[in-house]
Assembly symmetry: D3
């Protein structure tokens, strides 16, 4: 059930049989020449909608801005302070819990959201003692890593990834534009937290860790279908 | 320019000739039997998109959750604490300003967002000294009040308004469903700030101040076109 | 009952028969050459005191500093960050509620306080579920607008208003000083939120929207008496 | 100069020759049967006003609510969370500094304000690097302790003190009412921080550490004059 | 250089040749029957001290409390709200940066600290634009995973891990006590964020994902030496 | 009981007979040439440990960073914003209370921590209604002032005190180094809150109010033993 288009009465009915809800979370941030600013929002929005359509799970509107500090030197990027995004995740969780939702899943298309949303959820537990709250990026869904490697390459990269570029244009109903098939510099070490200033220095073309020669719109469609399926299986397992 | 679908390079180009940006802000909250939960988001999103298409103004993705404390007794509603929404508006403003935007306009479809967003903007001024930041609800656009009265009735109401119900189904591409043409109790006094508990008591059917007998999908379409035009004129005046 | 001068035992007695309390809220901010810095505090303080004397309603000491960001280029102005004023209003509400007050009314003399105090009240509802909390500016009291127009002029203005200048000197027990009867530039559009920098540019003489030729100390006295009466009627209606 | 009644232009003139400002800070809290709720505000307000009249120092309106957690079991008390009072002190400091004030003195009548206001000032230093900011309670002014002992007794107490009861009625222009000349239980140890619950248990009559048999309105007048003098000398020393 | 025991002058000297600093971060939380409450602090404290001794890197005192929400049902555990730990990390970073430190590394012994400290660092970048700040857990140091598997087993577990139990007693200078060599239930899924209530249900004996039969004090010593070496190599690489 | 080295089960046992806990709090800040940066942490840590060993009281790990704004011009100093330290004290209090601790004592070695920790405790009372929480500096323990004067001099000073320098080297197991026996300028007035900028001006050698000619390592040992004894008596009195 897409909550955006539902009546309050329909939510009451939904809650008689289910207490799961998906919240797609993304960002508005540069993706170089290869993908649009909302790339990380479009994918989880479409993914949740498709799964919600298939198995009926409730889906809220998306969190459309994320923590994108490292991309702020590139025009169009909007970043939330981590504390703002935490508060947002906390308030959404507490609101949904108050209506009876218990399995509350933030489905993310942007890696930088992990820490702030995790923090917001941990804070929300004070008011949601018996909830089961989760933050999962679409590339962490079961089987996805393997499928990724099968379809595209060993490592789809860190920012402006092979997989997101392959999927996003199709999901927007547009033809993939022409852009240089750049091989970006290797991604930062796990332990390294990059400021906006250093990102611009290290990654002047925007992307990190990916080799765009592996991008393929056709494979993007196949991959997205796989994601939808994987999310449905994940939700099923959750409700068993 | 719809920022969601734009490349960072296109934003750089846009900023050579313009520094205006629209941020649609809405909510996810009950609208009784007459309108869907995201009603207050759908209208400004579509309005800004239409204006952006017509005159090229940059439009960000929407703020999809708002301050909806008084509707929290109705399932599906999500409310942000005022301080959360203030921080969100502040961070968005500061981010956009850092790229060169100077006329930053929050276009709202939900009255309850006024105080938190106003507060966020006032706080943002510390870092955006020469910006011109605004919060405007679509019903405050020039000429709208008169047109409202001309098309529908003297007062379209306070919550679940005649005008929003008339517009929203069309904007969603759906046929208007059947619902009782309720006349809701009169709206609260201006000075009165209503908690979730009292709203449920005073307005058990959700709406306030409106008489749904005046709802009309056809007039809704006409009215929406008027809004688009009014917003374009407002933006033009701003840039003169 | 003026709480400042009361004993705790007297408050206990008061609460046996009434649960209403008035909190006057103002600011310390420039009023050009025509009114003193505390103008917006003096009026609600005296108004609440007069009503409290007449009908016994409890009145707290005033909130003497407000949100006055736009006047900060003028020496003597003190501004609170919106979040500070929100927290102040929240803490006052929660404290009064804990003693048994249920009708908690912030009576304001300064327009800029509306958003922060509204936000503070909305946040306080979490701990004051069955309270009836309000924010009302004295110019919103029943009948005031009409009386204003009758006594002074069509529109008393936005800052350094005809009505506040007419009342304040009398309330301070001083003779009205000589000052130029300026006609200030028109007030900003409703949607426009003005920073300190732009206010100084747009309104170098401090005031906005008013024509001081309509100022009259005699009418100020009449008008103030009307306000007292109107507030008493408002409180009566509240308790019916 | 009393800022409440001054024009912005007069503040500009004042700042040519002085950069000192006094901010009286008090509370609204129970004082048992012996003193009114605003006792701790009335004394510093009148003290600063008298000094300001004598030597021309600028005085702002009072902070009328303080940190009064331990008195919350007594009706009429209002308490601010420590973080709220800190933010208030910070914002006032930063505002005054921005106009050119450099010696910014919070003159307190309530002991519980020390920690929150100290914290607010320490935070304000980030934006006021070369200010000299102080928090001083009237009983800490030079010579006061000795005078206290000379006029009244060895130790005037901790709450509902001999000295405040002796001064406050006179300052309000009222005759001292009749009340029992209680000897309250000894004050809490310095290291002990008392919650509202324990205060009520330990001090059911409100006061702590004082013996009201030493109260004297005549001596209160003498003592207040001494305070005014002491504050003037303190300010003189500051400006040498 | 151990900062705890250094003079301010020695820090000035250090900063002439190096700008690296290590901050050990741990927690106080239950480790079942197999390890003491401060286990996650003891390891990084000793690790940083050993590396600091070997190659001279500056080491601050430890952050001794962490984000341990999920262990709160077990007495002795202390948890910081995520926002508190973020603020702590931010303030430490900004302080160190102000003296000239540029490579600021939080070396963690507790997984739950990752999100809050990451958020604090991202917030600190506003005031530390050209810093290189990192958060790294000791099990993420180069080569550690492989060594772990070589010495102990495939997977040392998630909480009350084989490796920490093997090291901690030796580091405390104590003999390893007797405890049952439990095999704990499998660790939670990556996406799953566990509240205190659910942890107690899922992991009544405290640990998760580890099989204590692999614990070995002798191997613990070998492993700790490996960690020290690995950290030294990591720091060297950082300074090349 | 030293909590750092205890098992959760041992805490459960402890709580059957006692509900007292000590939290040592210090700082990392310059102490000129005479004492190491962690001087204010080392003393309370060792003091609490000694008392805990003697009479079994539970002792947590130390709060190792404090509010040290005024020392920030001296390299190596780390300062927490007052609000950060308040939150830290609040979270520690609330965590310990949740397990059953009721007498929660912050034992401080640094004067600048008083306000922030006091504020944190006052805020924690909302969730710890029947706790007895305290903040005490070691120099405030019973009998200490007199012993101080007996052993050393009339006034040990304000920063880099005679007593702390006399104790700290011994507690670190080091020989006292050679340093100039400076007589520092007199300490600031009680009411004066000193910024980092003014501290550097007033106290370029770091210390304030002390005359280091009175420093004596032998007396330091005697004095420390006295402190341990005094703390034990204080805890005994608390439990009577």
């Amino acid at each position: 059930m897409i909550l955006a288009g539902a009546l309050t009465r329909e939510v009451t009915e939904y809650l008689r049989n289910s207490n799961t809800v998906l919240i797609p979370v993304g960002s508005l941030e540069q993706h170089g020449e290869a993908a649009p600013l909302a790339c990380d929002t479009i994918i989880p929005v479409r993914l949740c909608a498709a799964a919600g359509m298939k198995n009926g799970t409730a889906v809220t509107p998306a969190v459309t801005f994320g923590m994108s500090e490292n991309h702020m030197e590139f025009p169009g990027t909007v970043t939330l302070q981590p504390s703002t995004l935490s508060a947002l995740a906390r308030d959404i969780s507490v609101s949904l819990y108050s209506h009876g939702f218990r399995k509350i899943i933030f489905l993310s298309g942007h890696g930088g959201n992990r820490s702030p949303i995790t923090d917001g959820i941990m804070e929300a537990y004070e008011n949601c003692p018996d909830a089961d709250m989760r933050y999962i990026a679409y590339w962490e869904l079961p089987g996805v890593r393997k499928k990724q490697q099968e379809l595209f390459c060993q490592d789809p990269g860190y920012h402006v990834t092979v997989t997101e570029v392959s999927m996003v244009w199709h999901l927007m109903g547009r033809q993939m534009p022409l852009f240089e098939r750049v091989k970006f510099p290797p991604e930062p070490a796990t332990s390294s937290l990059i400021s906006r200033h250093r990102w611009k220095e290290l990654y002047p073309d925007g992307g990190a860790g990916s080799d765009l020669k592996y991008v393929s719109g056709e494979k993007g469609e196949v991959f997205f279908d796989f994601l939808v399926n994987s999310l449905c299986l994940y939700l099923e397992a959750l409700n068993r």
